[in-house]
């Protein structure tokens, strides 16, 4: 049963399909879907976070609104460092997946490559008697990100030895 949250997510993404940003009334949207207004916040928090490549702005009171802005993937030079910065020294699976989704959206990697990256940072890949799973995930993801950007330029780039 297509989850309410999923439907709301799709609805919003359709609205945005060719705009960089949209504004909507939280209560209106909630009413449209017959749910609690806070449900909208849940969807925004879980599917439109910065990690997912979106920014949320809003205003309360009369004439209030919620604005959703899609962040752009800027030039590839500092993009790598930006991404690595977001990865940091430890990262949760969800956040890692969001980053992968973003570079997939930006067509920096193919769907097949993105799948592999997801597999590499998945819970099952790192399900070991190790307390530092997130640390590990960060290391693996960083390594792959660097490889992505290395592949991007010198096509022939032979993997590091």
């Amino acid at each position: 049963m297509a989850q309410l949250s999923d439907m709301i997510e799709r609805f919003i993404k359709e609205l945005m399909c060719d705009d960089r940003q949209i504004e909507l009334r939280r209560n209106e949207l909630a009413q449209h879907f017959g749910c609690a207004p806070s449900q909208i916040n849940y969807v925004l928090a879980t599917r439109f976070s910065v990690d997912h490549g979106y920014l949320i702005e809003s205003r309360r009171g009369g004439g209030g609104f919620v604005r959703i802005v899609r962040l752009q993937m800027s030039g590839a030079d500092n993009l790598l460092s930006a991404l690595l910065g977001r990865v940091g020294t430890a990262i949760a699976e969800d956040t890692a997946r969001a980053i992968i989704a973003q570079i997939e959206d930006g067509e920096l990697v193919t769907p097949g490559e993105a799948s592999l990256m997801r597999a590499a940072v998945s819970k099952s890949a790192l399900a070991l008697p190790i307390s530092a799973k997130d640390v590990l995930r960060a290391a693996v993801l960083s390594s792959m990100l660097k490889q992505v950007f290395r592949n991007l330029e010198g096509e022939d780039s032979d993997d590091l030895r």
Copy 2:
């Protein structure tokens, strides 16, 4: 004596007869067979494992599901099982690279994908204060191998969120 497990197995296989993958509700299925929900997990674990050529994915919570994916075992019937066997529970970097080279040669993955795999199992990716580097590498590589076989000619491979 048509064990319950056998009936459930057959039931699922019939559902899948012409789909590469299906989704089902664990509790619903359990109810249909009048058994404990965990019985379903037992069937999945014993009859739909990777060795049997299947992958299981799932999601909890409202709208949760269990997805069963039939892996594409072309040609060398159990290439995946063989590869996973070689990976085992621990593997050195060189051996891992050899396996990756093999599937790259066999064109099971693109050069770009192979690069990513190498990056994921590289010394630097796993350079952590952990003694079990090889164990970890095996887990990560296994995870990626499964993904490779999941994707083979599977267009709509919709990764789990």
